[in-house]
Symmetry: C3
Subunit: 363 residues, 3 copies
């Protein structure tokens, strides 16, 4: 593993937390791209993200006290405003301009907080991928937006989502179905400058187990459609529909059940990742039991992924050389990794990370 | 610790598992010499050992599914035969010849599976040290052949077994006896090209506590004989007998109780080891309670070793230089380590490990 | 972190253990300055500290058996006297002079054992800081002298104790009090060649919560005095008094409650530390409930410190550069660290650590 500053695209928006994780005046300690951050909501309602290390001697601000839109370190009482500027040192009148912690731009879209870990001057909120179903009342999501922590490089989760043939083997009894899904369906991807998209049909097959659980009264044989989009740095958006055979050629869409799914992968470190997700539907929105069924089924499926991906991570970390061999189904993940590399090089070339000057460690 | 490829003799047979650990169509994930391996028994009865990392993206084959003598990776469905050749990729017709995982020769002898981690072309099953009592019905072993995992370099276990004076101090109340054992008995070793052997008598002494537990009606004073053999890479074979004083000069051997003991040490990594053992006797073979007594006593004794050896390992791992000082009783272990070094150099010179070409890590 | 030998002042006395931790003929395994030590009390009453690694093959002497003032390794029976010289090898007549373990000078003062990790020839017991209240019957201490283990560099605990403004924020409800303590009181330090001292008054304030718990019938408004001394390598001594306002100008000291407090910080490794402490008073000495109250209050306060300091350690260990920014209240800790650096350079220049010759690792 190379130095952290070389691993990441710095100047882009990363999913950071669901709003409910950062309660009003509460504090969330979370690491992004190897950097420790404290997030909190100020009393004005503003979300704030700061370096979690008090500039004095690195005591955690996440153990501090929110005061207005400021936070006070509860070790020696230094107080920082939402720009990270130290505005109070108890018993000391003059505060040097060097006394500040780094502040990270934060934006909220559809209850999802996004963070910008690069140069704040480059942060344009218009670049955030705002997923429309999250705020559209036609779509009903989970009882609460969900989070999982992975002990793996975030790119392995992206790999997972880039090849749907794994549904047949990993998720046979949950999100996938028969192994025919891997063999019979093709995944023709559309290559984008910042990711990929593809549509994948599975015709005349049994509906996926999770759908049957949520909606037991549908047809036994369906045409299943997935429309997938994946964007740098790790944004996965998917439309899923189950309907009677041939529904896409029919005027009657009344028996077609639609889902909207978003998943966000954000590096915590090079070997651990944050994973955020919601799963929404446009039918029987007021039936809470369906929301719970979908939450439980999806979580069951994600755990199937998590177990195998974390095992994969451990095997890849071994001090024993491993040469991966590509297969045809890798086209999406291969393009995504190539895209990532291109954008990373561009980011590092155009916006080199400032070199930190550290006079001396206090350890 | 140097790179893994430099630490081991590659071209020799290592004890890998008892057959009962690899149930029919079950899968055993185990690391040998820093390399991750999956072992399973194919439906034909054949034992198979493969690199545990699917050649696609290192998902663990040990989470796969045995099909005939093949195993299918349950991530994206690649199927490998017992030679490690990929014979199926779902949804893909052509399979490149590069798509394979390493296959390791495996042989079974007396319920013990042996693995060859070096060049398969050099693997000669005739070189396996086949311990005759394991298959000779005159000898009754434990209720089940036994395994322990050690958090130490395997050579420290070999050191332990190479000097029997530790019986007096570590195993006073279990396998050893009084401290006179360390002082009064001499251990004249015979140096071999691939190990050592020695005979050690303890005359006119109390029988060892474990023997008294298993066979309470023997004489109170005995002559005890141990005949020990140790071979590279870590094969320990021992004949033990307790009999009336002077039994070796007597025609009457009826009161002499004989044991046969095998112990196998295999490196998992440079700091962890596999340990396999059985303990057999040629008296009252049908009395299961004696087998159980011996199993419990030996396990008690091995735990005494394990505690002190693992503490030794921790102290040797410290970043504080340690200069070992030899004692007279080190002759066996010193010869073994010298033998190991000679054979290791010969192995590395005559059969250099192939250099792995890795185009790029996917982490 | 640089190599252990460069991190420490070797030639000085470090607090090592309370006497009750080293019971007669018992053995205490403890690491100091990255070196593994076994401490025991010989049958003559003498305290002994030796390298915990038997010179033979590094088996832990702490698993050994005390015999007189010697200790016998219970792996192969080597016996070492209190100077670390091997005096017996079972079954071997001649013992080479090289067969010895390092012996560390140990001295006891007021139930506290001190160890000298440097050149034994330089160890002068007169240099030990013998805290008089520990042996003066006028001062009543805790029910038992206390120990805590910290997962942090010991210098971070010294930093903590060098700036009392943290009492206002970390110990509001235990050892400190209102935040006025940080703002209103000044800490004028006296710089010493081997540390610092200061006196800090807090006038006309509520007494600290821990004092109210121990002595509920005192005045509601007090003048509080702390007189603090800190010496290299990590010796903290403090006089504390709570009395009626203006008590220091009064002839009547009857309502002044006095405490004496000692705390000792000793590096275990670069990232872990030993912490020893006692808290004594000169009033109602026979009331055990006050001793218990003080013990519980102080422990509660030290846990408040421990939580924030260990979090600070973790943040400082991150692979993300951190530049500390000084504040006015840092004067004591800054002087202490400067003093430490000066004395460390002097120690390393005048008494270079001997270079260990190690022929070969047995791992």
């Amino acid at each position: 593993m190379s130095a952290p500053e070389n691993n990441y695209i710095w100047n882009c928006w990363y999913a950071a937390a669901w709003a409910h994780e950062v309660e009003s005046a509460g504090k969330l300690e979370r690491t992004f791209l190897d950097k420790p951050v404290v997030m909190f909501r100020g009393e004005s309602g503003r979300y704030v993200a700061l370096d979690n290390r008090c500039c004095h001697r690195a005591a955690p601000l996440s153990m501090g006290r929110v005061e207005g839109d400021c936070i006070r370190c509860m070790y020696h009482g230094l107080k920082f405003n939402s720009d990270g500027i130290c505005v109070e040192i108890p018993g000391q009148d003059k505060i040097p301009a060097t006394h500040r912690v780094r502040s990270y731009p934060v934006e909220e879209r559809g209850n999802l907080l996004w963070i910008w870990m690069g140069d704040p001057n480059l942060a344009d909120p218009n670049d955030i991928i705002d997923y429309e179903p999250l705020t559209n009342p036609e779509w009903q999501g989970l009882p609460q937006e969900a989070y999982l922590h992975y002990d793996c490089n975030w790119m392995l989760i992206i790999d997972n989502l880039a090849d749907f043939s794994h549904l047949a083997f990993v998720h046979t009894n949950t999100l996938g179905g028969s192994e025919a899904y891997a063999v019979e369906t093709k995944q023709e991807i559309e290559r984008l400058d910042n990711g990929f998209q593809f549509e994948r049909w599975h015709r005349e097959s049994a509906p996926a187990p999770y759908h049957v659980k949520a909606y037991p009264n549908g047809p036994d044989v369906v045409d299943r459609r997935n429309y997938v989009q994946m964007f740098v740095p790790g944004v996965f958006l998917m439309e899923t529909a189950f309907g009677p055979v041939g529904w896409d050629q029919s005027d009657d869409q009344s028996d077609v059940k639609q889902y909207r799914n978003c998943q966000y992968m954000t590096p915590e470190t090079g070997s651990t990742a944050h994973f955020f997700w919601n799963y929404l539907r446009n039918y029987e929105q007021s039936d809470e039991s369906i929301s719970i069924s979908l939450r439980d089924s999806l979580l069951e499926g994600f755990w199937e992924d998590k177990v195998i991906i974390e095992a994969q991570q451990k095997l890849l970390e071994l001090d024993d050389p491993f040469q991966p061999r590509g297969i045809a189904a890798d086209s999406a993940l291969a393009h995504f990794r190539k895209t990532w590399d291109t954008l990373l090089e561009k980011d590092h070339t155009e916006h080199p990370q400032p070199v930190a000057e550290v006079s001396r460690s206090i350890l």
